[in-house]
């Protein structure tokens, strides 16, 4: 930071002896954004699998522990770190029994991690992958660990949002409780109606997602963040076939507005939410290595991103899609930043209705939103998404080659929103 050095030099002038040194430099007390300290929580590296189309795609017969194991191994191998150094591993997952706690432990052994490394899972619905990062950051901040893996994985081919568990019959008597079991698609219709997001706007947004993802794919922009995984698929003839998956399967470069307009609403007869303007059901995993800056530096590891703020908020369950519109301002305030200071926003495209609403409500310039496409084109493997967005965001900021801020945010089923602010330090 040569410029900073030159200007800081003003405060300690060489050879100035004839007057009081009543100017001195001190660490700016304004906190997170811009400051750089040994206690910062930093992201060292992150990778993801390609997202497969659930039930029909290449991961349809792959158990989630295999996907998770692939990314965990790859992240550590890329930077040459032994898993012995990990203080903890947290994995976001939604659909597996017990949020995949057993699956995660099996996965670490598939990766050859020693038993001395602990692991657990977290489920905050669609934000689980990001929540895993928050959890590891929290453990670092409280001093209990120095380094950890934050991951997310979901196989929506093998599990569905079926069994809601054991719920009290009283839930029907309390509006908000009952709203929690509204299908997600209906919450999308609620947002579209209540906030006036037209079918045309939703389709246009969906088209944009596919176009941006297609451009990113053909330009090879995802190559450095995707770990190729070789898995077994049962093909149409019922035979096992080995296949190596390295490209996101959901992207449809040939998408047109006319094609999207022809699709019928899925959740309500006179509604606006269709299969084309909703996120896809997918399989995938992602992993990020997180550490305390001092420990990361001591190991000679690079800093890809710095966590500057984390916020989770609650919103009405029946319009859960507005989550980012509340979570993003909360996170920006924590970081002391405004929308104008942020270069890239990764806002999960659960549905076009809610994504469009949030972008417009916050006045975010559209070119800053999901520049490489979002869940409509890339898919939304529930527990994986939050971690996947961080991987894509930080790789994009690194490609741009200068210091910049980025935001990751998503809405959360049952009525919440989460957002995080990251800083990429630049070359």
């Amino acid at each position: 930071m040569n410029r900073l050095k030159i200007i800081s030099g003003h405060l300690s002038p060489a050879g100035s002896t004839d007057h009081e040194r009543d100017l001195w430099g001190s660490t700016c007390g304004s906190g997170p954004a811009g400051s750089s300290g040994p206690e910062d929580v930093v992201v060292v590296h992150g990778l993801r699998t390609a997202t497969g189309r659930a039930k029909r795609g290449s991961f349809k017969n792959t158990t989630p522990d295999e996907l998770l194991s692939a990314v965990m191994t790859a992240v550590l191998k890329d930077i040459g770190l032994s898993p012995n150094q990990l203080g903890d591993v947290c994995v976001g997952n939604v659909l597996q029994p017990g949020a995949g706690a057993l699956m995660a432990r099996v996965s670490q052994f598939l990766s050859g991690f020693p038993e001395t490394v602990p692991v657990y899972t977290v489920n905050r619905q669609c934000s689980s992958g990001l929540q895993a990062l928050f959890n590891i950051a929290g453990a670092i901040r409280s001093g209990s660990i120095d380094l950890g893996l934050a991951c997310g994985v979901e196989s929506m081919s093998l599990r569905a949002m079926g069994n809601p568990g054991d719920l009290s019959s009283r839930l029907v008597d309390i509006d908000k409780a009952r709203d929690c079991i509204i299908p997600m698609g209906i919450t999308s219709e609620n947002v579209a109606e209540r906030f006036g997001v037209s079918r045309e706007k939703q389709d246009a947004f969906a088209l944009g997602s596919h176009q941006k993802a297609a451009r990113a794919q053909s330009a090879g922009r995802f190559r450095e963040e995707i770990v190729p995984v070789t898995v077994t698929m049962v093909d149409d003839r019922g035979e096992d076939r080995a296949v190596t998956v390295e490209e996101d399967e959901g992207v449809r470069p040939g998408t047109t507005l006319e094609g999207l307009a022809k699709l019928r609403p899925v959740f309500k007869p006179d509604g606006s939410t269709t299969a084309g303007n909703s996120s896809q059901v997918s399989d995938g995993a992602a992993a990020l290595l997180i550490g305390r800056r001092a420990a990361v530096k001591a190991l000679g590891l690079p800093v890809l991103g710095v966590l500057r703020a984390s916020a989770v908020v609650g919103v009405p369950p029946d319009v859960m899609g507005i989550g980012p519109a509340v979570a993003i301002p909360a996170a920006l305030e924590q970081a002391g930043l405004s929308v104008a200071d942020v270069d890239v926003f990764e806002i999960n495209e659960a549905f076009s209705s809610q994504a469009v609403y949030c972008v417009e409500k916050l006045g975010i310039p559209p070119e800053k939103v999901n520049p490489n496409g979002g869940a409509i084109a890339l898919g939304h493997p529930l527990g994986c998404t939050g971690a996947r967005q961080v991987v894509t965001l930080l790789h994009e900021l690194r490609r741009r080659g200068r210091r910049a801020y980025g935001v990751v945010s998503m809405c959360i089923g049952t009525g919440m929103g989460a957002a995080a602010v990251f800083e990429h330090p630049g070359p």
Partner: protein, 237 residues
């Protein structure tokens, strides 16, 4: 008070247009100029407020701007990437010309004020001053001598081919373009000198034309007489 706010951009320099009384240009940078991008803004003052006429983005911070003295549409700006760019308010999209010769930040640009001359001077953190033709085709001279970053380069309003520079090496220097040499090097301050300017009024005394002022991080402002090279007044607070 009329205010213009530029979101996420911090202003570094303002200059009034020599042709359009209500117009000024502002060089601004992201993140206080420490990193990120920059913007060049052209603003007009009305009865009630300040509005944006046009603006351009640059991939590095912009630290100074100067209007052309011969063409009301043209401006030159100096950037953190060592480049000077020539901009035209009548041609909106891209700069007319970009000249990248300085190897570090260009902190000062000035357009010559004397008749018969049409030149640009730039001062850079690479410790050199460059003089350019008004089309920025290439530098006409590169002047070395300063031992620290240069913060300010200003043409004399009276003496052709003469300009002053202020530097982090604590000296104020006066240069003669024809001789391509430094005529005077005054250790005017004990700390970095951030800014200097010429007295453009020649009515007070025979000496006013050659008076320079400078201000520095040592909390003082100096007025110097060029010919004598000696400080004749020093104000501090």
């Amino acid at each position: 008070m009329k205010v213009f706010r530029s979101p996420a951009r911090h202003g570094y320099a303002v200059e009034a247009s020599p042709f359009v009384p209500s117009r000024s240009a502002c060089a601004a940078s992201q993140f206080y100029g420490l990193t990120g991008c920059g913007s060049l803004l052209v603003l007009d003052q009305t009865e009630t407020d300040v509005c944006l006429v046009t603006s351009w983005e640059w991939s590095d911070g912009l630290f100074d701007v100067a209007w052309s003295e011969t063409n009301e549409h043209v401006l030159v700006a100096g950037g953190g990437d060592g480049s000077l760019q020539l901009w035209d308010t009548a041609n909106h999209s891209a700069p007319l010309r970009v000249a990248k010769e300085h190897t570090q930040e260009v902190y000062s640009v000035d357009w010559s004020q004397t008749r018969g001359e049409n030149l640009i001077v730039s001062g850079s953190w690479d410790q050199t001053v460059k003089v350019w033709d008004p089309a920025l085709s290439r530098s006409l001279a590169t002047l070395r001598g300063h031992e620290g970053v240069i913060y300010s380069t200003i043409w004399s309003p009276h003496i052709p081919g003469c300009f002053a520079s202020a530097s982090g090496d604590g000296t104020l220097r006066v240069w003669d373009l024809k001789a391509a040499a430094c005529r005077l090097a005054i250790p005017a301050h004990s700390a970095e000198i951030l800014s200097c300017d010429w007295c453009k009024y020649d009515q007070f005394s025979p000496f006013s034309r050659s008076v320079l002022a400078s201000c520095s991080y040592d909390f003082t402002v100096s007025s110097l007489h060029r010919l004598v090279g000696r400080r004749f007044s020093r104000a501090s607070d």
